[in-house]
């Protein structure tokens, strides 16, 4: 899975396409402009071609819209579920009473990194059936680790003295968690969520092999029908979607970040 490298990137210092708050205009608008140019150029190029009937069967507004919506649906549902599951679990595992099980969880998580997403989803499908929800379970399983790990790491690196100080001010453990630890862990946690989002956009591309459509359908049609315009359209659409989602998640993370950080 790509999550280790993505996590390296997400926590890395300066490779952002997304600007810091108050960053220059270029850094705020660079990615949307780039995407608009690439999508526009593809549209003009495909529009200028004489499409044969096979190509037209895939390259029409209806099919492209449907595939994009299917893709977004898979991505949104799986990411929402993984956030709801992994963040509370990460918080629980970072509490003192969970300390004995943490090494075991991290060990399983490390082996989990080596599991290929394609194999994992196929196994889930074999155990259940072809369908939307089995696909979602597969996606959730693939993107669980980065959010879980980043929540744990984020909470772990919170300055102990800050926690002690808030306890000293009379806050209850729950208040400390909600008002001190979670806000301080926010940047690392949001990086994990962003990573999970990218994994889900990318892995949802495999949905077509499990009867779930998505933009992978366009790409794979382009390959099997040996039609380059179809292939390029699919690749451009799914890549633009991934980059846009990544950009939006990054921008949102910066806007929502606690002011003091």
């Amino acid at each position: 899975m790509a999550d280790t490298a993505l996590a390296t990137r997400a926590t890395g210092a300066s490779d952002r396409a997304v600007p810091r708050r108050g960053g220059s205009r270029l850094s705020w608008f660079g990615m949307p402009v780039l995407l608009a140019v690439i999508l526009g150029a593809t549209y003009l190029w495909v529009g200028s071609l004489e499409l044969d009937t096979i190509e037209r069967r895939t390259l029409n507004a209806e099919q492209l819209t449907r595939s994009t919506l299917e893709h977004l649906h898979m991505t949104a549902v799986s990411t929402a579920i993984v956030i709801v599951l992994a963040i509370p679990l990460g918080v629980l595992l970072s509490r003192p009473f969970a300390r004995p099980v943490v090494p075991a969880v991290l060990g399983v998580a490390n082996i989990g990194q080596g599991v290929p997403s394609f194999g994992l989803i196929t196994i889930v499908i074999l155990w259940t059936s072809l369908g939307f929800w089995p696909m979602i379970i597969g996606l959730v399983a693939c993107s669980m680790l980065p959010i879980l790990r980043n929540t744990m790491v984020g909470l772990e690196q919170v300055d102990r003295t800050a926690v002690k100080a808030s306890r000293g001010m009379g806050m209850s453990p729950l208040q400390v968690l909600l008002r001190v630890e979670l806000p301080l862990a926010f940047p690392v946690m949001i990086a994990g969520i962003r990573t999970a989002l990218i994994i889900n956009v990318g892995t949802a591309t495999l949905g077509t092999f499990f009867g779930q459509g998505g933009l992978g359908f366009i790409v794979y049609n382009g390959i099997t029908l040996n039609r380059t315009p179809v292939l390029i359209t699919g690749v451009v659409l799914v890549s633009a979607l991934a980059l846009l989602v990544d950009y939006l998640a990054g921008a949102l993370g910066r806007l929502l970040a606690p002011r003091g950080l």
Partner: protein, 214 residues
């Protein structure tokens, strides 16, 4: 057929697919190293190029893997070459960013001292900076390798070689009694390969990290 029976009967086949998979990973990593190490050095030395280089490498990692595999099919045709091209690009970011980070973490005092000893820029890089940055760079290479081993399973979907073909075969024969075995076999093979490569890195670490900083 139970999974153990499948394993004993298809041992040869799985081993061969595993070697194909390993081959795919090693070739892609080789290309990524030849391209990534110099890019990392440039990113460290040239502040202007640093961000463009790192964001370009990060850009590839954001793209869905199937898309990156597919885009090279019009260029190279179906099979191993588009897979190698895509995997090399995926492997780039951890190598480049860790090379730049590792070099940046070398103490300026040490760099000054080597200048004082009359080393040229090239000597300084090869004999002082790179050996000191090597543990960080090696971690990047290791992360890249893990990523590539997993994603290489998708190569099968674009007609490439490797353990992914076994998973894909199982998927296509879904409903068949032997289908789960094929999928388990392919998936397990990838996990085992990932663990073996990780173990290899422990050895490489011991052998290649300069004795003074071990």
């Amino acid at each position: 057929m139970t999974f153990t029976e499948y394993l004993t009967r298809n041992y040869d086949n799985l081993l061969e697919l595993g070697l194909e998979h390993l081959n795919l990973v090693l070739i892609s990593m080789g290309i990524a190293l030849v391209v990534g190490l110099p890019l990392g050095i440039v990113a460290h030395r040239n502040k202007l190029l640093r961000n463009p280089i790192l964001s370009t490498a990060g850009f590839f990692l954001t793209l869905p893997s199937l898309a990156l595999f597919a885009i090279f099919i019009p260029v190279f045709g179906i099979g191993a070459p588009p897979a190698v091209a895509a995997l090399s690009l995926y492997a780039l970011l951890p190598i480049v960013s860790n090379t730049a980070t590792g070099l940046a973490s070398v103490s300026p005092a040490v760099v000054k001292a080597s200048q004082g000893m009359g080393m040229t820029g090239y000597q300084r890089l090869l004999r002082v900076e790179l050996p000191l940055a090597w543990p960080v760079i090696l971690t990047g290479i290791r992360v890249s390798t893990q990523v590539v081993v997993g994603i290489a399973a998708i190569a099968a979907l674009v007609g490439g070689p490797g353990l992914g073909t076994e998973i894909f075969r199982g998927l296509r024969s879904q409903g068949n009694a032997s289908a789960p075995n094929l999928v388990y076999g392919g998936t397990l093979g990838v996990i085992v390969l990932a663990l073996l490569l990780d173990a290899a890195f422990v050895l490489i670490r011991r052998l290649t990290i300069s004795r003074g900083i071990r």
